[in-house]
Amino acid sequence: MIDVRNVTKRYGAGQGIHDIHVRIAKGRITSLIGPNGAGKSTLLSIMSRLLPMDAGEVSIDGLNVVQTDSERLARTVSILKQTNDINVRLTIQQLVEFGRFPHSRGRLTSEDKQQVEEAIQYMELEPLRNQYLDKLSGGQRQRAFIAMVLAQNTEYILLDEPLNNLDMKHSVQIMKVLRRLTDELGRTVVLVLHDINFASCYSDAIVAMKEGRIVREGPTNEMIDSAVLKGVYDMDIPIHLIDGNKICVYFS
């Protein structure tokens, strides 16, 4: 369980996040949704210790993210931000191998190699594995970074807009991979999503944010509701049931 208590982070005038309180259940996919500037990425960065907070506490499986040794945390939680420019020239294979660093400190054991192999297969990157990242398309690169996170093999996986840059096919592919990780391996996934239909179709719970605060949280079924979404986005969003999925039609 990820336990966020009274977390506050201030930027400039009125921005940032204020007194956030939320618990994220284990073994589920939880989506963070909300309009631009709601503080979703900030919250995710704080949960993953990338960003220091001004007040409050976050613990993951009882490990306080500020006090716990960073290396210990890296075996429990992984984070992938939306922009991943790196200045080092690496192949996909080499990048994914970095995911094993918290376990092996750079000396790969046969178990590490197997994990890397699986991550590459999961993301269907075998044909590209020896290509350099700077020669890939945005979508391929994004999949490579997700593969690295998979190789890290952590209980908790935090992703900041992982579907950025991806076409429909690969977006669906990644959501299905995340689904399998939770259903088969019991992993916990927290992700920031912009398209609420992806949140609706693939996540178990939704946390909705607005202006640095949590507006509402709950199971997906309760959250995908015209009244709730109206409170989050200030839009009238009709919802239709198609093949058992709730689809938001926000093109008015």
């Binding site: 993953s48 210790r49 990338l50 040794d69 960073s70 290396e71 210990r72 945390l73 890296a74 075996r75 992984s78 984070i79 992938l80 931000k81 991943n84 420019d85 790196i86 200045n87 080092v88 020239r89 690496l90 080499q94 970095f98 995911g99 660093f101 918290p102 400190r105 750079g106 700077d134 890290q152």
Partner: protein, 315 residues
């Protein structure tokens, strides 16, 4: 595995050049020639290694292959120190103040200066490393303004002494000081040896490094101290060589074609030592000492930097 061969080849090149350097034109006068040349080789190897190591590490920390730590104003500080000594005490006292004291004073002053810079700037979040460089350069201009004013007031003989200090020279290295410098450099590298394994990951940038469990801020801080000590020591030993590091780090990356520091660092060190020995041979045998090695190196290194800049693709 091919990288191992490349490293061996580079090592052979460096050793070969060393052998040539030690034996060329010795005309049987071994007792006189060998110790002097060995001392020179020692200074060259130490400086070359320190510059290569500090630049490669610095580029990893800044996530940027076109920077070098010599930029933070240490060269100007070194020159200012010597200008002030000559200005205040005159040339006679300059030679009277022991070389040991001068060396120690330079090292202490430069490490203190970089320490101060780092301390001041570690309170600031964000892109502090570029920022640090800029502040260093501004301080450098500050120092050189004062130096050049003092230099204008010096009489021509004293100015010649200052002029000597403007350029790195391997010709008059004292063996005690060489030993001292070697000990300091080895200490700096070994104290922070435990951070070495994080370098590959730090090259990915802060966020990835933190995600992968690297104690990022601590490691960067420690490695910066190491870099500062190495640059200060090598500058105090032979004088400023601004662009050598830039040259050898980039050539090293090109030669070995890997990102792994365990390969890139030795390659950079070997290339650095080999080019210093080769350069010194050229200066001594072809130019017969009429120009300074550091001037040639700045010239080549700077030119390479320009080519690097102009070839850089916009992505």
């Amino acid at each position: 595995m091919r990288d191992h061969w490349k490293l061996l080849l580079l090592a052979a090149l460096a050793l070969g050049l060393t052998a040539v350097f030690l034996t060329i034109d010795a005309s049987g006068d071994w007792d006189y020639v060998l110790p002097r040349r060995a001392r020179k080789i020692g200074a060259i190897a130490l400086t070359g290694a320190a510059i290569a190591y500090s630049t490669v590490v610095f580029q990893t920390l800044t996530n940027n292959k076109i920077l070098t730590p010599s930029l933070i104003g240490l060269d100007s500080l070194y020159l200012l120190l010597h200008t002030v000594i000559i200005f205040v005490f005159g040339s006679s006292a300059f030679t009277a103040i022991g070389k040991h004291e001068q060396f120690a004073l330079s090292v202490i002053l430069m490490v203190a200066f970089s320490g101060l810079l780092f301390r001041m700037l570690f309170r600031i979040q964000g892109r502090y490393l570029y920022f640090l460089l800029l502040v260093g350069i501004v301080c450098g201009t500050f120092f050189s303004s004062i130096s050049s004013f003092l230099q204008m007031l010096l009489d021509p003989n004293d100015f010649l002494l200052v002029q000597d200090k403007m350029f790195a020279s391997f010709n008059n290295v004292n063996s005690d000081i060489l030993l001292m410098a070697a000990l300091i450099s080895i200490a700096a590298v070994s104290v922070f040896y435990r951070e070495f394994k994080y370098l590959d990951v730090i090259a990915l940038g802060r966020e990835h490094a933190v995600n992968l469990g690297v104690p990022y801020d601590r490691t960067v801080r420690r490695m910066l101290i190491c870099v500062a000590v190495l640059v200060a020591t090598s500058t105090a030993l032979v004088g400023p060589i601004t662009f050598l590091g830039l040259l050898v780090a980039n050539v090293a990356y090109r030669v070995v074609g890997t990102y792994r520091h365990s390969t890139v660092l030795p390659a950079a060190i070997l290339i650095s030592v080999a080019s210093l020995i080769g350069g010194q041979l050229v200066v001594e045998r072809i130019f017969t000492f009429s120009t300074s090695l550091s001037v040639i190196l700045n010239f080549i290194g700077g030119g390479y930097f320009l080519i690097l800049m102009l070839k850089e693709d916009k992505t």
